[in-house]
Amino acid sequence: MDFIKEADVVVVGGGVVGCAILRELSKYDVKCVLLEKEPDVACGTTKANSAILHAGFDAPTGSNKAIMNVLGNRLYHQLEDELDLDIKWTGSLVVATNDEEVETLKELLERGKNNGVPDLAILNREEVLAKEPNLTTAVAALWAPTAGVCWPFEAALRFAQCAMQNGAEVIRNCRVTGFVKEDGKIIAVETNLGVIKTKCVVNAAGVYADEIAHLAGDDSFKIHPRKGEYILFDKTVCNDLVYGVVFPTPAKNSKGILVCTTTHGNTFIGPNANDMDDKEDTSVTAPGMDQIIASARKLIPNLPMGAAITEFAGLRAVSDNGDFVLGASCVEGLFNAAGMQSPGLTAAPAVAEEIAEAVAKYLPMNKKADFKAALPKQVHFTRLTDSEKADLIAKEPLFGRVICRCETVTEGEIVAAIKAPCGATTVDAVKRRTRAGMGRCQGGFCGPRVTQILARELGISVADVLKERKDSHLYYEKTDVKGGQE
């Protein structure tokens, strides 16, 4: 058999969980490769969720979710600096609007304590209003100071970049089509690009994790996509709507529709929760938007709907039993990190440690002495002081050209995002890395310019630049013009 590559561990899926696992594996003396079917990492659940680093009071005590959540939350406090992550430790409130809900808060408080969540407290109305003046309907709230908000795409990318800095490899546009087994044991992964020899596989394939497991012969679980829709607001218009994470008292199959700040200072409302059949259906719906607006208004009656700048939806990867599916599969050489719905983002670094330990026992593998934990700091032009800005432009003039007006993103930052390890190759990939196009005009001004910068830096035609997925062309050559002749 011809192999395009040989590895010790192949990670399937480049979401935040797969990337965190890749980073953890890169601490060991093994060759690890991550395969992502899309043109960029973090294109599935990771790019469309609530971005919350949960405190950990929600999941049943003793569940994988509860254990990994509390541990993961602690790990992010450490990773924040190492990986230069944008995290705001805002704390979270679960708001009760009547006495019945206050009883639920007490249950959550008790569960949280059992889960090992530190410093939980129930606040009275005055204390809630002191934190969040717009929560005019609150009678009490559960306060969890260890919760925060992050930028999930950035977390995934920085995990991947840290792994790459330690010798791991990320292959994008690479779809797993099957596995080669010998004596029941996985020895290679078949992909659209060719066969990759490996000693074991970690399945972090998000909503497709059950299908990947099935390809390997593990039918022990199913993943059901559960859609959540969101509405995002302009940050300049409503940056003081809420200052942190605000949950209603929880509903049956989700934590409810929340009003929440983002790490970049926008506010969003959502998500609702609808079980789907289609694992690709991330469309937003009129009834869905009506539902989240109505629910959010119960928390914040004066919601400024005119300041909405975009709507989006993501799919949660929900397992049969509702918990994470973690560890060695029934198929030798396969490890699952599946069913990673909320608090999957928070849990990701803890899950990574758990999986890496399991893989270490299987292979075996040993920790490297020279693991480089810290990544170089990112340049955010808009956060620099005036003299830092002046110095940077003097050194690199492209930082003096602002491409995205709404978010003040410079050409220098965009070129850096394209040239970085696991660099941007699409317009949406640039947007996720730099925020160009994330503001109130949603790329109306900078979109064509970003497209042209990508074409120039990648050495391709503007007509070949993609928005996101493989057939998402943005522009076409004019049909009747033969270039350059008057």
């Binding site: 469309s283 937003v284 009129a286 909405a308 709507e311 002046a390 003097a394 602002v402 109306g444 979109g447």
Partner: protein, 424 residues
Amino acid sequence: MKELKDLYDIVIVGGGPAGLSAAYSAWQNGAKSVLVIERDRELGGILQQCIHNGFGLHHFKEELTGPGYAHRCIELVKDKSEIECLTDTMVLSVEKDKTVVAVSPDHGLIKVKGKTVILTMGCRERTRGAIRIPGERPAGVFTAGAAQRMVNMEGYIPGHKIVILGSGDIGLIMARRMSLEGCKVQAVLEICPFSNGLTRNIVQCLNDYNIPLYLSHTIVKIHGKDRVNGITVAKVDEKMRPIPGTEFDIDCDTVLLSVGLIPENELSRGLDLKMHPLTNGPVVDQHRQTSLPGFYAAGNVVHVHDLVDFVSEEAEIAGKFAALEAQGKLDGNTKFVTVTAEKGVRTCVPQCLNLPEAGEQVRLFMRVANPERKVKLVVKSGDNVILQRMLPVAKPSEMIAVDIPAAKTELIGSSLTVFLDKEA
């Protein structure tokens, strides 16, 4: 590379038709140093991508294309030693002490101060997100202006089978433009029961190309995972809600949005200028001075205009008075008047007046809320009717201008209202 001064008579933010017209007018009125700061690689603003004709009939008394109009404006300011223009330079902030902070690859970080500042940042397009169109989020959904830039300036088309949502002027112009590029424009959809574009554009851009205009219709779903592959459309009721059962599909690979323009006022908000909730621009007096002394504003940043000619006219007012103020020649006016749009008139600019004792001719620009026929426009101060005019037709898409002669401004008290008298 130009050596910049520390202090200018006037710093103008934005080098489109408003900024350039303001600069020229300031020069005509004696300003000795004017700096125009433009973010794009050339002056002229959005006009440079508007390669169709129909510009300049009022202002230059001849019909020009967008770049033609821009060229005229550029010709007026170039080679004047008192006017400097910076391109490829983005203003990051404007401080209350009239320091303007900007960056460019050539000049690095720039800090200049004006005795006065004129804000002429223009406007931007409303997006899909602002109007909450359901469906997937594939490639192929563009604002009409972004598509226009690609087609007319960069030489690429956004797709081949086009549907345009919104019958604003840019949408209508793009319907014709895409047809001329060999694309098939399947439909123009308008959620209102009337078009939001100029009548001449309906005729010249849709009717002449057999492009259907669906009034009271909107998109209820965008289809396509990677690239748009169709839309579902529905008729809407009088509250603009889709009517169940009226849905139909249109085959297309591109959706262009022409659903409104929003004055670009992030810098104005940074200055805490008093803003008007309906124009989305700063509140200005008849000289286009904002609520902050020494700061003027003109053009689409104040209110979205129908014709660039009126943008120039407004900017010339701002340029003149900013120049007079910079030279210490502006007399303190004594009579403050609030101007309020009521009953059928949606907006009126200026929103206040600072009148001298002797009176001063004032021009009011208004837009009506709904299409009307045979109505009387009334300008009243207290019980005094200052002016009235019969309007055979009034459309929200077309600005109405009325002049109040200097002599009549003496009759104005502390407030002025403009409204439509429909009983007339």
